[in-house]
Structures are given as structure tokens and as C-alpha cells.
């Protein structure tokens, strides 16, 4: 399941249907928005996406991960739009027979997402704003 949404991400909306009897591991990763970056105090963030391409790239990453680590279930949910501090911007739920596969898959998915999926975030400070990934504010 691949979802890009402007709605608040609630783990409970996705967790129940992720359980399956053949899995011994159900791993949940949440990327959350923090209140500081590079010494600046962050008030909130905004995420923008090229949605159709982002879904396509996420599906490529998901299909590869499911195959490589024999995942029984995988969900990737990314929020866009304005996100307040401490809210979930990224939720990944992976289930597999054993824990190692889920851990490795999630590490790979987050790493690939940050390299190739067309999603951008902008931080808002009390005294300004900045796109992350720009030359003056690297990712």
C-alpha cells in the first residue's frame, strides 16, 4: 500500500490490517517533524510532492523491498502539506517472518526515499523559512 495524503497520519488506521499469521515481526517506523535543525528553532514544516511520480517511485522501492526481503506486508504512507511539530510525516509498516528482514527493508526504504522520491520539505522559523536540500540548507 502506497499513500500520499494531506491528512494527519494515525498509526491505528493502518496497523490492524498489517497483522498476518505468517509473520513473526511487525515493524513500525515513524518519521516525525522536529522543532530544530542546524541550530535553528523550527515552528512547522510544509511538504510538497510531485504526487504521481512520488507514488511511482515509492511503488518501485516497495516492490523491490518486498521481493528482496520476502516481506509479507508493506505500507508506506507519506504526508504532505503543513505539518506541525511532533506529527508523523512518514509511516512505514513492514511485516516478515523474522525481524531482520523488516529492519533491513525499512532502513533501505527510508534511505531510498530520501534519494529519489520527489518530495520536498520547507522549514518555517520565527525569522524566516528555508527549503531543505537547497545549497544553504542540506538534507
Amino acid at each position: 500500500m502506497i499513500v500520499i495524503t494531506e491528512n494527519i497520519i494515525k498509526i491505528e488506521d493502518y496497523i490492524n490490517e498489517s497483522n498476518d499469521s505468517s509473520s513473526g515481526s511487525l515493524l513500525i517506523f515513524c518519521g516525525t517533524t522536529r522543532d530544530n535543525n542546524l541550530g535553528k528553532s523550527v515552528d512547522y514544516l510544509e511538504y510538497e510532492s510531485y504526487v504521481d511520480m512520488a507514488k511511482l517511485k515509492l511503488k518501485e522501492i516497495a516492490d523491490f523491498s518486498i521481493s528482496k526481503w520476502s516481506l509479507n506486508n508493506l505500507k508506506i504512507i507519506h504526508r504532505i502539506g503543513k505539518i506541525d511539530i511532533s506529527e508523523i510525516s512518514l509511516l512505514i509498516i513492514a511485516s516478515s517472518s523474522h525481524r531482520n528482514e523488516s529492519f533491513r527493508a525499512i532502513e533501505y526504504i527510508v534511505s531510498e526515499l530520501k534519494k529519489s522520491v520527489p518530495i520536498w520539505k520547507k522549514e518555517y522559523y520565527t525569522d524566516g523559512e528555508s527549503w531543505i536540500g537547497s545549497p544553504d540548507n542540506p538534507n
Binding site: E48, L56, L90, V117, I119
Partner: protein, 81 residues
């Protein structure tokens, strides 16, 4: 041929638009398109060298030949997660 150019993030903000519609010569590649945009869109070329380019949702190299109706997206460094 007609091409739609999509802009995002800092690039969109700088040019104050999210799309550009233009006609270019048949058999143009992405480099030709960039040359055209550099000539005709003030502010386009700043930072664009570090951007990736996607045609119809798929990343392509700068020598990729474009076709009529293609959607070409300039992708600034991504920062999801």
C-alpha cells in the same frame, strides 16, 4: 512539438509558477529544452544544473529525445521523510 514543463519547491517559488507550456523543435533533447528555457525564462537557469529531470514521471539523462506532448519535470534535490 508541445512540451509541458513542471516546476517544484524552490524552483517553483522563484519563478512564481508551477508550469510552463512551450513549443520546441522536433527531435529536441532535454539539453535543448534547457537551453530554450534559459533563453526565455528569467531566473530559470539558477541552480538547475543540480536538478534531476524526469520525463513522463521517469528520470532521464539530458540527451533523452523528447516527444510531442511530453511532461518534463525539473526535480530539485529531494528531502522527503
Amino acid at each position: 512539438m508541445k512540451i509541458t514543463v513542471k516546476l517544484f519547491g524552490p524552483h517553483k517559488e522563484k519563478l512564481k509558477k508551477d508550469s510552463i507550456y512551450l513549443n520546441i523543435s522536433d527531435n529536441s533533447d532535454i539539453s535543448d529544452l534547457i537551453f530554450n528555457l534559459n533563453q526565455n525564462e528569467p531566473g530559470f537557469k539558477d541552480n538547475v544544473k543540480s536538478y534531476a529531470v524526469a520525463v513522463n514521471l521517469i528520470y532521464q539523462d539530458k540527451d533523452f529525445i523528447l516527444n510531442d506532448g511530453d511532461e518534463v519535470a525539473f526535480i530539485p534535490p529531494v528531502s522527503g521523510g
